[in-house]
Symmetry: C2
Subunit: 177 residues, 2 copies
Amino acid sequence: MSYEVTKSETSYTGKVFNIQKDTIILPNGKTTIRETICHNGAAAMIPIDENGDIIFVKQYRHSAKSMVLEIPAGTIEKGEDPLHCAIREIEEETSYKAGEMTFLMKFYSAIGFCNEIIYLYLATNLEKSNFNFDDDEFITLERHSLSESLKLIENGTICDSKTIIAILTYKNYLETK
Amino acid sequence: MSYEVTKSETSYTGKVFNIQKDTIILPNGKTTIRETICHNGAAAMIPIDENGDIIFVKQYRHSAKSMVLEIPAGTIEKGEDPLHCAIREIEEETSYKAGEMTFLMKFYSAIGFCNEIIYLYLATNLEKSNFNFDDDEFITLERHSLSESLKLIENGTICDSKTIIAILTYKNYLETK
């Protein structure tokens, strides 16, 4: 099926994303507008500590107007390798280094209107680093077993798509290992 | 922790989303800007046919510049009940009605910068409807068993967060039923 772009412009330039406004021709010949949030992508990781527990970060999310429990993640810098971003972000958000960072999968967070791709890793063999939190980061850490984490999805405490995917994927990973 | 908003404006008005640009004061007294994609939210459903297979829709996604395999979903209209949206969308996208629509969970698709909440349902007891596809909808249907669907996640064919969550949640649902 053909979807020819006849006009393309950046209609908004933001801090974390831009908006691309494209005019496209549908297969039936009609013309329509598609606005796409253009985002560099993100790396996220499910860090497993020495007891097999998952390390979460809790932080204020302005989109939800509340504190939210998530796996660590961060935005990929322009041209940065996702794995490099994952290695950087786990240390910045948890002050742990990962001895091993295993790629699990990648996915679009909101494919209907946004091109953000999240690269998901399993972070194991953690080692405390000397990293000092940034002045502007207000993150606390929480640890939960896999079964606790599944309950936190069920009761709605965990409500972030990448964190839900990470926990359910880790469960499958352990089952098939 | 306090995050007071000192200024708030709509910095972009789009077809499917707006952008809210807020100035907020961090707990350390510093001021920062948060841009949030404001979206009405969406209802998505995992439709199970008479053979236990999952019904998917395949459609062009401009964000991915390709045809993408997803569960059916659609944007909630202003003031619309998510369940009502789910009932409407499954018929519009698959031309099936769901005899039963069971709420599974809700989650933020991209919590870092977007307030979209997706309400996920399990759609069963499907019945063919007389619905005629919209002129501007170019959707084909595909059916896959749960185990095929899990393989399509593994090999990257399914790369949409809500669809991954739906399949993995449905697997858990069957295991604990």
